[in-house]
């Protein structure tokens, strides 16, 4: 053979290089495959990726100040909050002009609500001022500084102006600082007063309780999955129905059932009192606290642990145990050195499922958790539906997402994600 044919590119029958004709052939296949999944991809994009993106964006978005008070924001640039003096007349004039427009468009209350998250009282300041400013005449009523302060002495407060100045940029880390119990102070970020600190505790509690729930699920699910995997198919299918039964009843019903069981006049307490194990005036408090949340959520999430464990254990052939024993291992050694390591992918998959699900759970903690047993998700739900502080809710959600991703990454590093079998 000549050197040229040995080293040069391989040529296809029609004279084009083989690599290129292969790529062309593959491209057509790929496009066809892509078109097949396009509707689904679009659906996922619209319903999943975009809301998450929107949420992440909301957690830092802060256009409202800039949009509502454009002139004021510019004028405030020259003002130094540390001077201890309210801003100059120019700022008040700009504020008057901005508010005039905003009041016309009825946007000033929204801004008030937004700034009220950062400084309580601003909301009413904006609302009350709005009514008066309507009657002002921008051309004649100058100077405005005295007029503003006269109307409401809130406008003389440094804190109000500092808040407006601090939150004037289009993007803010204020929501995130708030999420970790901090706020923007005079010299950057600072801790909130003790009595306002809540989120770190909630995050810690959510992590801790999710961990406890995951561990109790592992402990309860392992033997169940083992039995299911080792029984004859007919019996195990029967028992499988029992495992899946909870899925067929409403989550609310199941959670309420735990209320019936655990409350102080509930089944367990009544039984214990009847048996004389517990005095009538010292009934156990098992609900509206962390214990209640852990019990109910362990029960609710148990199937998510059993199923992946079962599917992994089913693939572990009993001959491995026999082989181990024939090699001299006791029952325990055979289990611990041979069976258990092979079942770890199931434990891993189940743990990831249960942990992530429980981090984001809020119905059950809401119903049986009381104040000591609520999760961060309950707080998120509160900000979404009651306080309407969506930015803060988004920041909390983003942190939760980040925590989950970090844990997932750590899991991959320690156990290896290839070692997870979800089905």
């Amino acid at each position: 053979m000549s050197d040229i044919t040995d080293t040069g590119p391989v040529i296809a029958a029609d004279g084009t290089p083989l690599k290129r004709s292969l790529a062309r052939a593959l491209r057509r296949q790929k496009i066809r495959a892509l078109m097949l999944i396009a509707p689904l991809l679009l659906f996922v994009l619209l319903t999943f990726i975009m809301p998450i993106g929107d949420m992440l964006f909301r957690s830092v978005e802060n256009n409202i100040v800039m949009d509502t008070l454009p002139k004021t924001v510019v004028a405030l640039q020259d003002w130094d909050p540390d001077s201890g003096e309210p801003p100059s007349e120019a700022v008040y004039a700009a504020l008057a002009a901005d508010l005039k427009v905003a009041v016309e468009a009825k946007r000033h209350t929204r801004l008030g609500t937004r700034l009220n998250y950062e400084l309580t009282g601003i909301s009413s300041l904006f609302r009350k001022s709005g009514r008066q400013i309507k009657k002002w005449d921008l051309a004649q009523d100058a100077p405005f500084k005295a007029k503003f302060i006269d109307m409401n002495d809130g406008w003389a407060k440094i804190a109000v102006w500092r808040t407006i100045k601090t939150y004037s940029p289009k993007y803010t880390n204020g929501y995130f600082l708030n999420s970790i119990d901090m706020q923007k102070g005079t010299d950057g970020a600072e801790a909130r007063p003790e009595n306002q600190q809540i989120y770190i505790t909630l995050f810690k509690r959510t992590m801790f309780m999710s961990m406890v729930i995951t561990i109790s699920c592992i402990i309860l699910a392992y033997p169940v999955a083992w039995i299911l995997a080792n029984l004859p198919a007919r019996t195990s299918n029967m028992l499988m129905i029992l495992v899946l039964l909870p899925f067929w009843t409403s989550l609310l019903v199941r959670t309420s059932a735990w209320k019936v069981m655990l409350q102080q006049q509930g089944v367990i307490n009544e039984t214990l009192v009847w048996l004389g194990l517990v005095a009538d005036d010292a009934r156990l408090v098992m609900i509206n606290n962390q214990f209640g949340t852990i019990v109910a959520m362990t029960h609710i999430l148990l199937p998510f642990m059993i199923l992946p464990m079962y599917s992994v254990m089913q693939t572990i052939q009993p001959t491995y145990l026999r082989a181990a024993k024939s090699l001299g291992a006791t029952n325990w050694t055979a289990f611990w050195r041979v069976y258990f390591p092979q079942s770890i992918p199931g434990i891993g998959a189940g743990s990831i499922l249960v942990f992530i699900l429980s981090i984001g759970y809020y119905i059950t903690p809401e119903l049986v958790g009381g104040t000591k047993g609520v999760f961060i998700s309950n707080r998120i739900a509160f900000h979404i539906s009651s306080s309407l502080n969506w930015g803060l809710a988004a920041a909390l959600g983003a942190i939760l997402l980040a925590v989950v991703l970090v844990l997932y990454w750590a899991y991959d590093k320690i156990v290896g994600i290839d070692n997870v079998k979800l089905g």
């Binding site: 052939q317 491995y320 026999r322 024993k325 024939s326 090699l327 001299g328 092979q342």
Partner: protein, 390 residues
């Protein structure tokens, strides 16, 4: 090359005289017996006996194969010996002591499983080290033994791999090494070569036999492949329906089958059915169903008038008149098909109304090549034609 296994030179000397191998050695008093099954029965469901009255005795160093069709109870016997199933009745003894109540991990029996059962989460070296670890053998000793066992199966370079990274044949070798690394005296193998292709299987057959002889270990080997059984074993126990039909060295088994099942199951065999006409000492006269008379050796028949099946090996049938034994009864036959197989000729004949009678002849320069349609006469020595149970 191997210091770790005590090579037993007395191995052959230990073996009892097998000329009468077909008698089942049920006698517990046999001092040479190492593994013994005595009147063992096994039922899984309380209704059917999977193993019926098993009696077996094997001396140290023997390579015994349990051969039989699928479902005949071979694996069950092996599992009872290994301790994973309990005998419903009877006694199993190892080295003279009953092991019925000894748990599997204390029996010290090496085992090779059909699917190898190599632990997938451990490397090859860890797999081999496992039995040594549970025996609390020190680290340096362990490493030495593992290395020697790997070298023994010529897999020294593969210690760091995972089982999934090995081919079937390599996994088989590792399974063998793992069953041998803790130096058991008895090794059980359940169809260990079943998953390999033909060529590899033949190579491994040779290696396993060779290794077991060199190490002087006692082996109970299970297979449904009769060639494997014949080529590897000192003795073969033919299983059918939970019973040992015959226990004998390979040559005895092939040449002197004790009943129709064994004759049919081992090797190729021609069967003709008929009635015993008369028995004269070492020979008997059998009248086939079409009226023809043949000579046979009475094995399972005791009196005239009994129904019988006579069995003749295809290579013992003669049609070359010059080589026909003198005074032999002959049968008319029609050639149906001549199959050229290179080393041998295989000829299908129609004999006594049946057209599945085969003759095998060696491809020699003077050998006649028959043509379909040809009418010939066939014959054999009376002692090659065995009259068995009907």
């Amino acid at each position: 090359m191997l210091g770790m296994f005590t090579s037993s030179d007395k191995r052959r000397a230990n073996l009892p005289d097998f000329t009468n191998g077909e008698t089942l050695l049920a006698d517990g008093a046999n001092s040479a017996a190492f593994v013994e099954f005595e009147r063992v029965q096994k039922s899984y469901d309380g209704e059917n006996l999977v193993v019926k009255d098993l009696n077996l005795s094997m001396p140290k160093g023997e390579f015994l194969t349990m051969l039989g069709p699928s479902g005949s109870g071979k694996t069950t016997c092996l599992m009872m010996l290994a301790g994973f199933e309990t005998a419903t009745h009877g006694d199993i003894r190892l080295g003279g002591t009953s092991i019925n109540n000894i748990p599997p991990h204390k029996r010290g029996i090496g085992m090779v499983f059909q699917n190898y059962a190599l632990f997938p989460h451990m490397t090859i070296a860890e797999n081999l080290s496992f039995p040594l670890e549970v025996r609390k053998i020190g680290k340096s000793d362990r490493e030495k033994k593992v290395m020697r066992a790997l070298d023994m199966v010529e897999m020294g370079a593969f210690g760091g791999r995972r089982p999934s990274q090995l081919s079937g044949g390599q996994q088989q070798r590792i399974a063998l090494a793992r069953a041998l690394v803790f130096e058991p005296e008895l090794v059980l193998m359940d169809e260990p070569l079943g998953a390999l292709d033909k060529q590899l299987r033949e190579k491994m057959q040779f290696e396993i036999t060779h290794l077991s002889h060199r190490l002087g270990i006692t082996v109970v080997y299970v297979t449904h492949d009769q060639t494997e059984a014949l080529t590897m074993s000192d003795r073969v126990a033919v299983f059918e329906d939970g019973r040992i039909q015959q226990l004998a060295p390979p040559d005895k088994l092939y040449e002197e089958p004790q009943n129709s099942f064994v004759a049919q199951f081992i090797g190729e065999n021609n069967t003709l059915e008929g009635t015993v006409k008369e028995i004269k000492g070492e020979t008997c006269l059998v009248q086939l169903d079409n009226g023809d008379l043949i000579d046979a050796k009475p094995i399972n028949v005791s009196q005239a008038g009994e129904r019988t099946r006579v069995s003749i090996r295809p290579e013992r049938v003669e049609y070359n008149k010059d080589r026909m034994p003198e005074g032999a009864h002959t049968l008319k036959a029609e050639v149906m098909e001549f199959i050229y197989m290179g080393d041998i000729f295989r000829t299908r004949l129609k004999v006594a109304g049946k057209d599945d009678f085969f003759v095998k002849t060696r491809n020699a320069p003077d050998q006649v090549r028959l043509k379909p349609g040809q009418q010939i006469e066939i014959g054999w020595l009376a002692e090659d034609c065995r009259a068995l149970d009907a």
